[in-house]
């Protein structure tokens, strides 16, 4: 976790990098189809960056490149570079599994494992060989508290995660994603299946999480982007059209296509 360094008396917060994720002239192809065109942008550390744009604009494709999930698809290729904390994520020497440990992901539809709440959280640690009960207990409590879910499930840790409400399941997935203490949290429309109360809980949670994590969220909900994000990127037809502070994008966008999209004039 890229957060603090201890001194003799106090914790000093390290300087926040403005280019924690650096995307340089990045293009991406599904076989012969170019779906991302020469994207260049910098995503700041410990801030929330929102990707918006009409369906098919490439925002999710870019997000899924950050932890190389697109590797699983046949016939894909890319040009350009993506660097996370100065490390090229396409470096042939880089182990994809170690990259994915550093980058957690939460999906549109919550996808808890058909196991207990407890086992959902510790699953990846067990896979990595960690079976120390005290350590696992600590991770479970810390992760569930971090996902603002502890108080609601602390008495049901060993019951099936599938018995939770939709909002609780999504926060469980967030807890699972942060159990490994990643640097980055990717969220692909994390609230699209949630009611307004559950959505508000996840948004409140995100505000707390950004103290420790760099968050990138794909959302179709303009109001959600305005509420939660510090910076917003608008994509259209695979191109990055505009990227700026969120308050600027939603009050005085520079580009006509951004204006037309966020005001509901096309899309």
């Amino acid at each position: 976790m890229p957060a603090t360094t201890e001194t003799t008396e106090t914790y000093v917060t390290a300087a926040v990098r403005s280019d924690y994720i650096r995307i340089e002239n990045f293009s991406f192809y599904y076989t012969a189809t170019k779906v991302l065109h020469d994207i260049t942008m910098e995503i700041p550390e410990r801030k929330i960056t929102a990707f918006i744009g009409p369906s098919g604009c490439g925002k999710t494709t870019l997000l899924r490149n950050f932890n190389r999930m697109n590797d699983l698809i046949d016939g894909v290729r890319h040009e350009g570079r993506i660097l996370v904390n100065d490390q090229d994520i396409f470096d042939p020497d880089l182990e994809v599994i170690s990259l994915r440990k550093r980058i957690g992901m939460v999906f549109q539809k919550s996808n808890p494992f058909p196991k207990s709440v407890y086992e959902n959280i510790v699953y990846s640690l067990r896979v990595a060989g960690q079976n120390n009960r005290a350590i696992l207990d600590d991770v479970v409590e810390r992760s569930l508290r971090g996902a603002a879910l502890w108080d609601e499930v602390k008495d049901r840790l060993h019951e099936s995660a599938l018995g939770l409400s939709g909002g609780q399941m999504q926060r469980l997935c967030i807890a699972r994603a942060i159990a490994n203490q990643p640097e980055i949290l990717l969220m692909d429309e994390p609230c699209s299946a949630l009611d307004p109360i559950a959505t508000a809980k996840v948004e409140e949670l995100m505000e707390g999480l950004k103290k420790d994590f760099t968050i990138v969220i794909v959302t179709h909900n303009m109001q959600q982007a305005t509420r939660v994000s510090d910076r917003t990127a608008f994509f259209y037809l695979g191109k990055l059209i505009e990227y700026d502070e969120t308050k600027r994008i939603f009050t005085t966008p520079s580009n006509r296509r951004t204006e037309d999209y966020i005001t509901g004039r096309f899309g």
């Binding site: 303009m222 939603f250 009050t251 005085t252 966008p253 951004t258 005001t263 509901g264 004039r265 096309f266």
Partner: protein, 226 residues
């Protein structure tokens, strides 16, 4: 600008804008009648200004209701958000201009009961400038003319100066004519209202610039700023 996918959104924004423009027309008429009542000693015009103010007040409430409804129903963003916020702010300024015209009319009605004050025509230039500023502020909003809107700020200073100069004239006249202090005080309040109409015209132009471009030119030295 192209239409929204949601036609009802365009209708709601159009209706809000029309209400503001109607308010503007009524307030412009009130200022013109107030001017006529003062310089032509036309007490009937005073009565019209006072009677017509209720329509402006009702429209102000209507604009607020419609603006809030648009925010709740459509969650406007970018230029839409700016135009809703600006419409609501401009309507507040228009309501104040209506009240200032009523204030002028009420004082004039009293003045017209007595002998004409010889200094009144000296206020003509200031009133003319205030009226022109107000008319241009409405034109800039209605015609989305940012260049015209940006001229207002610089035109307010000469108006303020004229009003200040006239205040000095009135002070000296009061010393010379102690029996007419009440009338001269009324004229001083009218002068103040004229100066305030110029201020509200400037505010309207600033809000129009914000609606058009998103630039906030308030509290800057001139309309050319930022």
């Amino acid at each position: 600008m192209s239409k929204h996918i949601l036609g009802t959104f365009d209708e709601a924004l159009g209706s809000l804008r029309n209400d503001v423009l109607t308010m503007g027309s009524l307030a412009e008429r009130a200022v013109a009648l107030a001017s006529k009542s003062l310089f032509s000693r036309d007490t009937d015009s005073c009565r019209s200004v006072i009677a017509d103010d209720e329509a402006i007040d009702e429209l102000e409430k209507q604009v607020d209701r419609d603006g809030i409804e648009i925010i709740v129903r459509f969650q406007p963003l970018a230029s839409d958000l700016r135009s809703v916020i600006s419409a609501m702010k401009i309507s507040g300024n228009l309501e104040r201009v209506g009240d200032l015209a009523v204030g002028i009319a009420r004082r004039t009605r009293k003045l017209n009961e007595n002998t004409a004050i010889p200094e009144i025509p000296m206020l003509g230039e200031a009133f003319r400038i205030a009226q022109e500023m107000f008319r241009d502020s409405l034109r800039s909003f209605g015609g989305e003319d940012e260049a015209l809107a940006r001229t207002l700020k610089d035109r307010d200073e000469p108006l303020d100066q004229l009003c200040k100069n006239f205040d000095r004239v009135l002070t000296e006249a009061m010393v010379r004519n102690p029996g007419q202090v009440r009338e001269y005080l009324s004229l001083a309040i009218i002068t103040r209202n004229i100066e305030r109409i110029g201020d509200h015209a400037t505010n309207i132009a600033e809000d129009a610039v914000y609606a058009m471009s998103g630039r906030d030119i308030r509290h800057s030295d001139s309309g050319a700023g930022k």
